[in-house]
């Protein structure tokens, strides 16, 4: 008991597993939708592409996609770094860098879609 104490479950280990799968389910649907939107945009000029994303439903789904995708990316890269990077300092630096980039990417994408939707 005295050996095990402090090394056991932090009671949040399943959270990563669950969020990875919830975002995966969301992205399975949203990813197909994004491919369809991208294919629509291939034949559009700037104004038409802008108007397409500005539609409320498309804006909402695009924001949902951006958040789910960057979240899922952070969780996935976290596991890969945990598995393969064994130098403590480098691992910590990479983990923090991935979290920062993913958060900034999500925030910038959401702001971009809001600007498009509000036409500003």
């Amino acid at each position: 008991m005295k050996i095990a104490r402090g090394l056991g479950s932090a009671k949040s280990g399943a959270h990563h597993f669950m969020v990875q799968r919830i975002t995966a389910v969301a992205l399975a649907a949203l990813g197909l939708w994004v491919v369809w939107i991208a294919l629509e945009m291939v034949r559009m000029d700037y104004a038409a592409a802008h108007a397409l994303i500005a539609k409320p439903w498309n804006a909402v789904l695009m924001i949902a996609f951006a958040i789910a995708a960057f979240w899922h990316t952070q969780l996935g890269l976290q596991v890969i770094i945990e598995d393969y990077v064994h130098a403590r300092g480098l691992e910590l630096t990479l983990q923090i860098a991935v979290k920062f980039v993913c958060f900034l990417g999500a925030a910038a994408s959401v702001l971009a879609v809001v600007r498009i939707a509000l036409g500003s």
Binding site: R21, A24, V25, L27, A28, G31, L32, V34, V35, L39, V42, R43, Y46, A49, H50, I53, M62, A66, A69, F70, T73, G76, L77, I80, H86, V101, G105, A108, S109, L111, A112, V113, R115, I116
Partner: protein, 131 residues
Amino acid sequence: MPASARPLSPHISIYKWQIQMVTSILHRATGIALAVGLLLVAWGLIALAAGPEAFGEHIAFCRTGIGTFLLVGWTWSLAFHFLNGVRHLWQDLGIGYAPATFVRAGWVVLVGSFVLTALVWACVIAQRGGA
């Protein structure tokens, strides 16, 4: 790597290649590729918000040789990660663990990913009017 003399499990160079290893490795590799691809999607959204000039630069990059090569690679990565991800979710429900089913599902994912990629790019070429 610890330099102890403890026994280590055999590494990939020892094993005969099998589909389960291929799908597992590719899931991680395509995941890393898609992380970079996602940044391009974010760039596209930011450019679309910024105006016609910025968006024009984004499209111009996508249409360069390198841009097109990356887009085709990311399409395949997405197709593979999507199909293999669905397989994983399916297995999370406890379905599909019989060895024969497992192996067949792996091949369906691999072949399917190339089929999906071809379909998407057939659509792109059709949309552009055969360009």
